[in-house]
Structures are given as C-alpha cells and as structure tokens.
C-alpha cells in the first residue's frame, strides 16, 4: 500500500473508533448556525445576504477544531515519532495528513450544509450543488494551510489557542473568495464567480506546494 493511502487509512480507522473529530466539528458547525439564526432573526435581514458569511464562519471555526484534534492526537502519545520513523518522505506525510483532514472536514460540512439550507428556508436546487463545489475548493485551501500550522502550534505551550491565531490571518483570502462566490450563487448572479474560484484554486495549489517543501522543518526534532 502506498504510504499516502496508509496514513489516510490509519486516520480513518482511528476516527471510526473514536468518532471525536467529525462529531465535534459537526456539532460546532450546527451550533454556530443556530447562534447566527438567533442573533440575526430579529434584524429582518435577507437570508441570502447574511447566509454566506454565516456558513463560512461555521466552516472555518469548525475546521480549526478538527485540525487541533488531528495533530494533538499524534503528539499525545508520541505517535508523531512513529510516523517520522516510517519509511516515507516528510512531504508525503504532509499530503497524507492534508488528505485525511480534508476528508473529515468535508464529511462534517456536507452534513452542516443541508442544515444551513433548512434553517434558512432555501430550496435544494442547483444552488446546493454549486455551494457544495465551493465548499470542496475552500476546504482544500483551509486544510492545506491548516495542517502545517497545526503542526507548528502543536509544538508550542498553548496549542489550542495558538492555532486560530496563526490560521485565521493566513486563510483570509480563502474566506473572502469563498464568501463572495457563495453569495453570488445564492443570489443567482454569476458574473465574477470564475475570478473567485481561481483565487480559491490558486491558494490551494500555492500552499500545498510550499507546505510540501517546508513540512520537513516543521516536524524536525
């Protein structure tokens, strides 16, 4: 079995046994949606206006929760040492972790997304498929940058606090582009959407490449 698939397989097995990562992300995402619903219900604002922001706040904060869990799990019992001793490149280790983080985030998001549609009284039409597509692109970007940052923050004294401080400023382009693209799909206007999608894809490609090259330094003892 190729090393990359071995890492993903290992993470999936752990997740199926512990069910910690997906369930916490899912619950957190739904809670954010509910809080937003209460916070903006009385304002009478159009759902399609606040919806995109609400959705991406839920996704990006839930992602941080999952990323913290993913690396803490490796550090807790010195599992990272084992992974580093395994016969695979540091870059492959990074890509494997990105793949499994991405998979868990997407599963959680694809459950949160229908809840978002139901709470905001939107119909399940082409827009649902469009937003699901944007979620995939945006989540790839978040997991690309988040995986390496969670490795860095796991080495500090204040792990859980450090990750959002490092991650949120770096994922600003993803959030802006994803919110704008989502808003254009929700409002059925698509003049500039290709520009936003290019930014999302470009961000993922750049960060996957750079992190693949420097991951070695982040895990070195």
């Amino acid at each position: 079995m190729k090393p990359l698939t071995a890492i993903v397989f290992k993470d999936i097995v752990i997740e199926m046994r512990s069910k910690e990562s997906i369930s916490s992300m899912l619950m957190f995402g739904i809670l954010v949606l509910v809080i937003f619903m209460f916070a903006f219900e009385s304002s009478g604002l159009e759902k399609t206006v606040i919806g995109p922001g609400e959705l991406w706040v839920a996704f990006s904060f839930a992602a941080i929760l999952g990323l913290n869990r993913s690396l803490a799990m490796e550090i807790d019992n010195d599992c990272l040492q084992g992974l580093l001793l395994a016969p695979l490149g540091r870059g492959e280790l990074y890509l494997g972790k990105v793949a499994s983080n991405f998979a868990f985030m997407i599963i959680a998001e694809f459950i949160v997304l229908p809840v978002f549609f139901i709470l905001n009284n939107l119909s399940f039409d082409q827009r649902f498929i469009g937003i699901a597509g944007i979620s995939i692109l945006g989540t790839l970007g978040i997991s690309a940058v988040g995986t390496i940052l969670s490795t860095i923050s796991a080495n500090t004294r204040m792990k859980e606090v450090m990750l959002p401080i490092l991650q949120i400023p770096l994922s600003v382009p993803v959030i802006i582009a994803a919110v704008e693209a989502t808003s254009q799909i929700l409002n059925n206007e698509k003049p500039e959407i290709s520009a936003w999608l290019t930014i999302l894809a470009g961000f993922s490609i750049v960060y996957l490449t750079v992190s693949y090259l420097v991951f070695e330094f982040a895990v070195e003892e």
Binding site: V145, I148, L149, I152, S153, N155, T156, R157, M158, M162, I165, L166, I168, P169, L170, V172, P173, I176, A195, I199, G202, F203, V206, Y207, V210, S211, V214, F217, A218, E220
Partner: protein, 225 residues
C-alpha cells in the same frame, strides 16, 4: 559609526521632507490639505509594510537554507519593524479616510491586506514568545514567516481582481501622473523614511545580537554555579 551616519542622514533628510510636505507641495484640488498625509502614508506602506514583508521572507528563507541564527534575528527584527510601520501606516490611512470617505475604515482590499499583514506580523511574535527553545523557535518561526509572506502576493494580486475603493496608483503604468512638485515631495519623503527605517532596523539588529549574548552568558553562569 555606520549607525551614526544613518542617524544623521535621516535627520538631515527628514527636515526638508517635512518642509516640502507642508509648505512646498501644491494643495490638491479636490481633497485639499488632507491629501498631504499621502506623502507619509505611501512611503510607510511601501517601505515599512511591504519592505518588511520582503525582508521577513528573506530572513526566514535564509535561515531555513543556511541554518544560521543570524538570519533568524534578521527575520525577527523585520517583523518587529513591520508591526510598527504597518500600524503607523494604518493610522495615517484612517486619519485620511475619515474626512474624505467619511468613515475610519472601509472594506477595501488594500486596507484589508494591510490589516491581515499586521495580524500576521503579530502572530509571528506570539509564536516566538510561546517557543522557549532557541533552535526550535528559529525553525518553526521560519516556516510560519515563509507561509505568512507567501500570503502577501496572493492578497496583492487580489487588488486587481476585486473592486476597490482605494485610490488607484497614479504613479504607475496607466496611472494619470502627478504634478512635478508633488512627485519631488514624495521622492524626498521616500528617501527620509527609508533612511529612518534603515537606522532603526540596524539599531534593533545590534540590540538583538546583544540580547542573545546576554542570554547565552546567563545560561553559562547558571550552569557554572
């Protein structure tokens, strides 16, 4: 000695720069005197915010390639300069935006980039302070600084893709061009602020080196007790 020359030069250039900004440069037709803040704002943004970003990038890359701790000091000082100059630059932007746009801050891609840049510089510092071990700190901060600075061009590209309220650059290919006296004032102000930046940076670098020596000596002294 070199530091002293830089200090003297920056004082010598700062005085005529201030004179030119307030008295020599013609008043802009639509914005009036508020426009004069540009002569400070533009050099602060270019030299302070973007210059520090480039230097932080070089410092981080230099450390990861050579593993020489002097590059880590270089990166740390650039980030510190970045915090000060970017904050000053945002402050001047707000002073200008209130009378002209009628708001302290407008959601504008260039302004957003500056705020994000400031947040990255601050995050870099917090990361440094939470990593006690010298070698590990240099390595992890090197990686984070590199990742953070890769963010800057992505954000910068966005200026041309996004709609923006920010005044478009007038001194650029396709820009309108400016009055020659205004150009002279801006150039003078650029020189003054670049020299000031260079002086403070070199000073900070010297202090950082001394700090490290003190740390080392303290450890040696404690070990010998």
């Amino acid at each position: 000695m070199k530091v002293k020359i830089l200090a003297i030069l920056s004082v010598i250039t700062m005085i005529p720069a201030l004179y030119m900004i307030f008295l020599f440069a013609p008043t802009e037709a639509t914005q009036g005197n508020a426009q004069r803040i540009f002569y400070i704002h533009v050099p602060l943004a270019v030299v302070g915010a973007y210059g520090s970003a480039i230097m932080l990038f070089i410092g981080c890359l230099g450390f990861l390639i050579t593993r020489d701790l002097k590059w880590d000091r270089f990166a740390a000082c650039s980030a510190e300069m970045g915090v000060v100059f970017t904050a000053a630059q945002l402050l001047t932007a707000m002073m200008w935006a209130k009378p002209i746009w009628g708001t302290w801050y407008a959601f504008d891609s260039r302004g957003t980039l500056q705020i994000v840049l400031l947040l990255i510089y601050i995050a870099y510092f917090m990361l440094r302070s939470y990593l006690p071990d010298r070698e590990k700190r240099a390595k992890l901060c090197g990686v984070f600084g590199l990742l953070g600075m890769v963010d800057v061009p992505i954000n910068y590209l966005s200026i041309y893709l996004f709609r923006t309220q920010h005044p478009q650059p007038v001194i650029s290919p396709g820009g309108g061009g400016v009055d020659p006296d205004m150009a002279k004032t801006l150039l003078m102000s650029f020189i003054a602020i670049t020299l000031l930046y260079a002086y403070v940076f070199v000073r900070r670098l010297t202090i950082a080196k001394v700090e490290e020596e003190v740390d080392y000596l303290t450890q040696v002294a404690l070990a010998n007790e």
